[in-house]
C-alpha cells in the first residue's frame, strides 16, 4: 500500500495528471462555497483526498507524500483558525463568532461577515484535510519495524 509506489504505469501517469486537478478543484470549491455548492468541508476533503491519492500512488518517497507528512505537523491548526477568528470577534466587546464585531475599520458589517466566513472556511478545510491524511497514516502500516498487528 503506501509503503511502496503503485507499479502500474497507467495509475502513475493518470495520478500525475489528476492530483493537481483535484487540488485545483478543491481550492475552487473552498473559495466559491459562498456562491455555489460546496464550502470548507468539501474543499478540505478534496484537498485531503488529493494528498491521500498521492500517498497511495507514489508511495512514501513521492513529493506529495512529503507534503502529506509536512501537513501532519499542523494538525489542529484549522480548528485554531476557526476558534481564533471567533476569539478575535470578542475584542472590543463583540460576541464569540459574530463576525460583524470584527474590529477592522473601514468596511461595513456585511463585508466583515463575508471575510469572517472565508477565514472560517479555510480553517474548516485545513482541519479536515489534515484529519483525513492523519487517519490514512494511522490506518496504513507505516511502522519502520515493518511488524504488523
Amino acid at each position: 500500500m503506501i509503503n511502496t509506489p503503485h507499479d502500474s504505469v497507467i495509475v502513475q501517469s493518470s495520478g500525475r495528471f489528476l492530483i493537481p486537478l483535484i487540488q485545483l478543484f478543491g481550492l475552487y470549491v473552498l473559495f466559491f462555497g459562498q456562491y455555489g455548492p460546496g464550502g470548507g468541508f468539501v474543499g478540505g476533503v478534496l484537498l485531503g483526498a488529493s494528498l491521500i491519492a498521492g500517498l497511495l500512488i507514489f508511495g512514501p518517497d513521492g513529493t506529495s507524500s512529503e507534503t502529506a507528512r509536512r501537513v501532519l505537523k499542523i494538525d489542529g491548526f484549522g480548528l485554531i483558525i476557526f476558534a481564533g477568528i471567533g476569539g478575535l470577534c470578542l475584542i472590543g466587546g463583540g460576541e464569540f463568532l459574530n463576525y460583524s464585531s470584527f474590529s477592522i475599520p473601514g468596511i461595513d458589517d456585511s463585508t466583515r461577515r463575508h471575510v469572517g466566513i472565508i477565514v472560517a472556511q479555510i480553517g474548516v478545510a485545513l482541519d479536515i484535510a489534515v484529519a483525513a491524511v492523519s487517519i490514512v497514516y494511522s490506518l496504513s502500516d507505516q511502522g519502520e519495524d515493518g511488524s504488523d498487528a
Binding site: P37, V45, R113, V136, Q142
Partner: protein
Amino acid sequence: MSYSFELPLLILLILTAGGAIVVKDLISSVLILGSYSFFLALVWAWLGAVDVAFVEAVVGAGLATVFFLLTLFRMAPEHILIQRSPPPISAVIALPLLGLLLLYAASDLPAFGDPQSPASSHISPYYLENSLRETQTPNVVTAVLMDYRALDTMLETGVIFTSGMACWLLLGRKHS
C-alpha cells in the same frame, strides 16, 4: 413531478443497500456501499440539496471507501469473508413490523416543500430573506453553516479533529 428518472434511482438505491448486506466478502460490500453513496448523492441532488449531495459524493463515496479499504487491507484474509448465521426469528418478525410502523408514521410528515411546515415557517424565512444582505453570501447554506450557526460548525470541526487524533493515538505507530 415526473418519476421517469427518479424511480430507477430509488430502485438502484435499495438494490445497492441490500447488496451491501447480502454479499459474502467485505471488500465487495465496501465497494457496493460506495456506489450506494453515489446513488444517494444523486437523490440529494434531485431533492435540491446540492451541498449535501456534494458532501455525500465526496465523503461517502470517496473518503469513507478509502478508509474502509485501507482497514480491510490490514486484516487477515479469513476475516474478510463473512460467515452469517441466520437471523433470529424474533428479528424476522419485529423488523418488518417496525418498518410498517415507520411508514405509517411517515404519512404524518408534512409534504415535501410544504411552505406551511414547521421546518420552513420557523426561522428559515429569516435566513432566506436576510442572509444575502447581512453576510453578502449568495449561498444560504454556507451563510447558515458558517455564520448564523458557526458555533455548531466549529464544534463539528472539533469532532473531526478529535476523530483524527483518536485514530492516531489508537493505531498510529512511531513515525518520527
